[in-house]
Amino acid sequence: MPPASQTDVGWIPKEVKKKLKEQKKAEQAAAEADVQKKRLTRRARRPEGYGLGWPLTLPEGDLQTRLKRYLEGFATGMGWRSPRSREPGTDRDRAEDLTGGADDRAERLGVLHLSFITVVDRVGSFELTYELLDLRGGQVRVKTKVEGEEPVIDSVTGIYPTANWHEREAYDMFGVAFKGHPDLRRLYMWQDHFDHHPLLKSFEISTKRTFENLR
């Protein structure tokens, strides 16, 4: 550290220059943090129900208790059967039990976000996987099975409006119909003159190469 008098003369050594620069940077960072803090307080002053930037009350407790609560919520709160599998994160149940009344909301289930719906064609039956996230590290996987060639299952659009297109896609690709869906059309394939559901195992594609009998 050079003597202070040197800084007064206009000649600033390199180290001091560096230090001044760092000081300036720290000030800027503090100012930015201030702005961020102000933003946070502004967010906190939002009307009721907007707790810390969230419209819905966030799930509390650690992961295990939350998951347990969700499973109980599925089993009892919604009038569902008790889950067959006790594995955390999985819950197998019957198809018709998936929805309660129309006014059921995601809050009652306790899980905020429907990630995706996967349909698996098990030739003769269809396996549906609903992946639910609570956006805070917890995930619940609900698996159901529907029998038959042209299966029908209750729609979950009443609980999760985002399921709209997920279900449309499932209908388009597999022909699984969803009861109570507001607008069940094909999502990808053209609407008319196309009677197939391409992701069924019975739908053969012409570019498939078989290496049968090859060494």
Partner: protein, 394 residues
């Protein structure tokens, strides 16, 4: 602008079937009928092949219906007929602006099926490339937004940055766009000699260029503010309800990031913030994107500072044949939560692969928030969602 009543009515109408004639019930004050208009699929400003069936009242949109599938290649069906490693180049083509994240999600799912242990260096390199991919996707998307608003310069600067990252990627992976770099069990090859230094230099340069070339140029511009402030405004409730993820969710103030809340790979060791904004309009989404680029720069610096040594590929054997079951890989792509569900039946090829692309889900928002806006406001709203044609159509 429409009255509140009309807006609610039009939102209800927006879910109706496509190809419908103008609804005679919807008439303006003078008793005039509305006009049906088709925007796309070949529209110069559209982000790809998308058709919007718009019902117009003057220049105000009353109903917006999305018709997609013009780029549908059925990646899921193709994936069912390929061997496990051969699916990775196909996932590259889903979101062609952010390929690395697409590979990453699929590989994570298969690794979960295999219960594989990944060497730490491979994990770090994956995160490094993924963050470069995010910069590579976010900066051009800001450029596209500006291009649609009529500003031509930002897209040139954006592509200059993308070009430079592509040069680095070409040296690492061998390709400029369809990288096919992340493999089951690790990455294709270690970083070549001199590349970490090149990456560091580039990141330092980008940090300096970001302020004058993007923030100073765009922020505060009157035209930009006039076209984006208050446009596409949505509440957090709506955003969570519609299942949005990524920037459209975060710009409403909701704090959700897969990297933070469902950590994977090397992200457990990294220190970064989830950028949010309170406004929930197009301008806010721009601010979130710039903030995320800065966070990516921060993360890349952290990774490069202590890059672990060792192997980059786990030994999983010649043939990849996972046991029966299902695995889910979830990553934060540049557009939101991207998840891959792989169902295995114990053979060489996956029994079923499901891609949850963020664009498909985020696009549902169009028919919810476009009604009530003017026709030219659709393009900024598309810039908010920032969809990619290959990703929404799969």
């Amino acid at each position: 602008m429409l009255s509140e009543e009309r807006r609610i009515e039009s939102a209800a109408l927006s879910g109706r079937a496509a190809g419908r004639l103008a609804n005679p019930d919807v008439r303006d004050e003078f008793g005039l009928e509305t006009l049906d208009m088709s925007m796309g699929p070949q529209h110069p400003a559209m982000h790809g092949l998308l058709r919007l069936i718009l019902e117009l009242d003057g220049e105000t949109v009353v109903r917006c219906d999305t018709v997609m599938g013009y780029l549908h290649r059925s990646k899921e069906k193709i994936s069912e007929n390929r061997m496990y490693p051969a699916v990775i180049p196909i996932t590259d083509r889903i979101d062609y602006m952010n390929n690395i994240a697409m590979e990453y999600g699929y590989v994570l799912a298969v690794e979960k099926l295999l219960d594989a242990e990944i060497p730490p260096r491979a994990d770090a390199i994956r995160a490094l490339m993924n963050e470069f991919g995010r910069i590579m996707s976010h900066i051009p998307s800001i450029g596209f937004l500006m291009l649609e608003l009529g500003a031509f310069t930002p897209i040139l600067y954006a592509f200059r940055e993308r070009e430079r990252i592509q040069n680095i990627f070409e040296a690492v992976t061998g390709a400029r766009m369809m990288f096919h770099y992340i493999r089951i069990g690790g990455v294709k090859a270690d970083l070549p000699e001199g590349i970490p230094e090149q990456m560091w230099n580039y990141i330092e340069g980008l940090e300096q260029r970001l302020q004058p070339d993007f923030v100073d140029l765009i922020e505060g511009n009157e035209i930009f503010i006039a076209r984006t402030r208050g446009i596409g405004k949505m509440t957090q409730e709506k955003a969570v309800e519609m299942g949005l993820t990524g920037v459209p969710l975060r710009c409403t103030g909701a704090e959700f990031d897969v990297r933070k809340h469902y950590p994977y790979g090397w992200y457990k060791n990294l220190d970064f913030d989830v950028i949010t904004d309170t406004e929930g309009d197009v301008e806010a989404s721009y601010r979130v994107r710039i903030g995320e680029v800065k966070q990516s720069i921060r993360m890349i610096k952290q990774i490069l500072e202590d890059l672990p040594e060792g192997e980059v590929m786990a030994d999983l054997g010649r043939r990849i044949r996972p046991a029966e079951g299902d695995g889910i890989g979830r990553v934060e792509s540049a557009r939101g939560e991207y998840a891959v569900h792989v169902v295995s039946d114990g053979s060489d090829t996956p029994y079923r692969v499901h891609y949850r692309t963020p664009c498909t889900v985020n696009m549902q928002l169009l028919q919810e928030i476009v009604p009530g806006h003017y026709l030219p406001d659709i393009m900024p709203i598309m810039g908010l969602i920032d969809p990619v044609s290959g990703a929404w159509d799969k």
